[in-house]
Structures are given as C-alpha cells and as structure tokens.
Amino acid sequence: MGLVDRGRMPAPLTKLFNMGRSYSMWVYQWGLACCAIEMGAAFGSPRYDVMRLGVIPLPASPRQADLVVVSGTVTDKMAPAVKRLYEQMPEPKYVISMGSCANCGGPYWDSYSVTKGVDQIIPVDVYVPGCPPRPEALLEGIVLLQQRIKNEDMAAKWRNEEFTTLQKTAALEKAKSQPAPEPIVVGGGPIE
C-alpha cells in the first residue's frame, strides 16, 4: 500500500515487520568454492543448524529468496551470473559475503581471472572473515545481520539510501523539527 516506502508506518508495526523479516529469511546459497563446504555445514548439518534462527536454506529459486550468502571465489566468468541472479531477487534483499575470496579476492588477489571481492558487483551487508570461516562464524554473521534488520529503517531502504537505523531517522527528524538555534552575534549589533 505504499505505507512502508512513504515512511508512514507506526513505530510498533515497523518493529514487528522488521522482526518478522529478520526471523524468516530464505537464504539462497551461492556456494562457489571451499567456503561452500562450511556453509553446507552451517546450513545442513544438525550441529550448527541454521533453521533454528529462522533462516531456511531451501528456496527453489532466487525469486523466492531474501538473503544470498556468496561463499567462495567469484571468478570473472561467474560474475555476470552472480549479478543476474542478484537482480532476480525481489526487494528487500540482503547479501552476506563469506570468506576471504568473496570479501576481497583473498589469496587470489593477484589473479587475472578473479573478481577481487563480490562487492564490486553487488552491495554487501555483512562480511564474514575467514578462510574458510567456521560455521559458527557464519552463524554469527547471520545473527549480526538479523540485529541490523531489526533496527533498520525500511523507508530509507526503499528510497535506495544507505542503511539507517530507526533510531537515527528519529533523531534526524527531531533535529529538523526543532528550529535552528539563534546565531550568537559577537561584538554586538548588526554590521554597518
């Protein structure tokens, strides 16, 4: 109805929607290389189960996913596919870059065929360091993303601005609504 993008949602409802969105993320696993094994351990094994956090690793296509975890080296050959699949995801979408190769090229920073970091192609929300990161490190990245989503200002996201929290937007609005303070005139009186 356009309430979210015009910023007209009442605060408790925004919090509820944010909480709902953060606890029901469908993650599209973009496993490219060794990090995919650790991602598989985090998503599929019973020990580091990710479904308990509300993240379901089973969307049938990117059009049904809200989160994509890029894990592994992004080669130049694969880069157009990454971009295309990212564009096929519906808003609001989030990206987690897992491992050194996806963060910035990693050990293959000098290679002719590696994209130095997936953030050259798509905007990334959380970077999980490691080579490969432990499955719990990926879970910590997901928990961090969930905390950011819970505080996120969705109206700003729909306007394509940078990530802002609800608290910051409220503070900005408050500052705008107060009149500008009177400038202090030193020396007394207007300039002749």
């Binding site: 019973p46 020990r47 580091y48 189960d49 308990r52 956090l53 050194s100 963060n103 910035c104 090229g105 990693g106 050990p107 920073w109 970091g117 953030d119 990334v124 929300d125 959380v126 970077y127 999980v128 360091p129 490691g130 080579c131 990161p133 432990r134 719990e136 490190a137 879970l139 910590e140 990245g141 928990v143 961090l144 950011r148 990530f163």
Partner: protein
C-alpha cells in the same frame, strides 16, 4: 522365485527410527544452540592473529612472507636511551603501524611461523564479522586486544631446556 518379504524390513527400519527418536529425547539433540551456547574451538584453532607489540622489532619478515600481502607495517628508527649509565644512545626500530587486513588474510600462519621474536600468536576467536569491510583492517591496538584471547602455551616436555 518369490521376492523377499518386505514387511519385516519395514519394521526393522521403523525400529531404528524409534530408537533414534527415543535416544534424542533422552540425551538431547546434537545441536549446539549457537548464540546461546557456543562450543569452544580447539586451542590450536586458527581464528585470529594477535600481536604482542613489545616483542615486535618491525623487522618486516612477516609482511614480506605473507602470500597475500595483508600485513602493513610502518616503522622508523629512533634513538633509545643507553642501557647503562655512561653508554651511547642506541638505535632501535620503533613500530608505528601494524595492520592486518582480515578481509585478505588466508590464515596460513606463515607470519606466525616466520616471526623470529615470537610477536604473533594464534587465537581461536572467530566472531568478528563486520558490516563494513574497512573495519576488517585491525590496527595495532585491536591486535593487542586479541592477545587476551590467546591460549596458554602447551607444557614443555620433560627434560626440555628452559631458559
């Protein structure tokens, strides 16, 4: 030739399912409930590299041997006061900047192995994901903070020489 009866196989399979279910109900599931309970990684786990700044002499060996060139070191020479009264001031290397870029690091440990002064240590900490990639560049102070998480060195063997 008549095929083997399938029903006892089905019952045996169901028996396995039931016994696993009862075992899980009795002993609890295998899941480590991540944000609330965390399993401790082994002490030798390579989570993050910590810097003991007092030992570092800015010799640049770690930076040069890093395959990813993820260590940035800047140092300058300065005169330190003489060790004994009446001595000459001696020239020492002072470390200005020691950054490790954990976005690039591949956790190979060559820097830790090659350091001649034992200034770098492995620590099993792994929870340092960041929303901005620039925050993954840990500077000298942050690397010094990781020193608190470095586990104790293992016991020396019996008969080992202690200095």
């Amino acid at each position: 030739m008549p095929s083997k009866p399938k029903v006892p196989g089905l019952i045996k399979g169901l028996g396995v399912t039931m016994s696993t279910m009862f075992r899980t109900l009795k002993d609890g599931a295998n899941t480590v409930q991540y944000p609330h309970e965390k399993e401790t990684p082994p002490t030798r786990a390579r989570g993050v590299i910590a810097l003991h700044e007092d030992n570092c002499t800015a010799c640049m060996l770690c930076s040069r041997s890093c395959p990813d060139w993820c260590i940035y070191i800047e140092g300058h020479k300065q005169l330190a006061p003489p060790r004994r009264a009446g001595g000459k001031p001696r020239q020492v290397n002072h470390l200005d900047r020691f950054d490790i870029d954990y976005a690039l690091c591949m956790y190979c440990g060559i820097c830790v192995d090659v350091c001649p002064f034992d200034a770098l240590f492995w620590s099993p900490e792994y929870e340092y994901s960041e929303p901005r990639i620039a925050d993954l560049l840990h500077d000298k102070t942050k690397l010094g903070e990781w020193m608190e998480t470095v586990p104790e060195a293992p016991e020396l063997e019996v008969g080992a020489q202690k200095k």
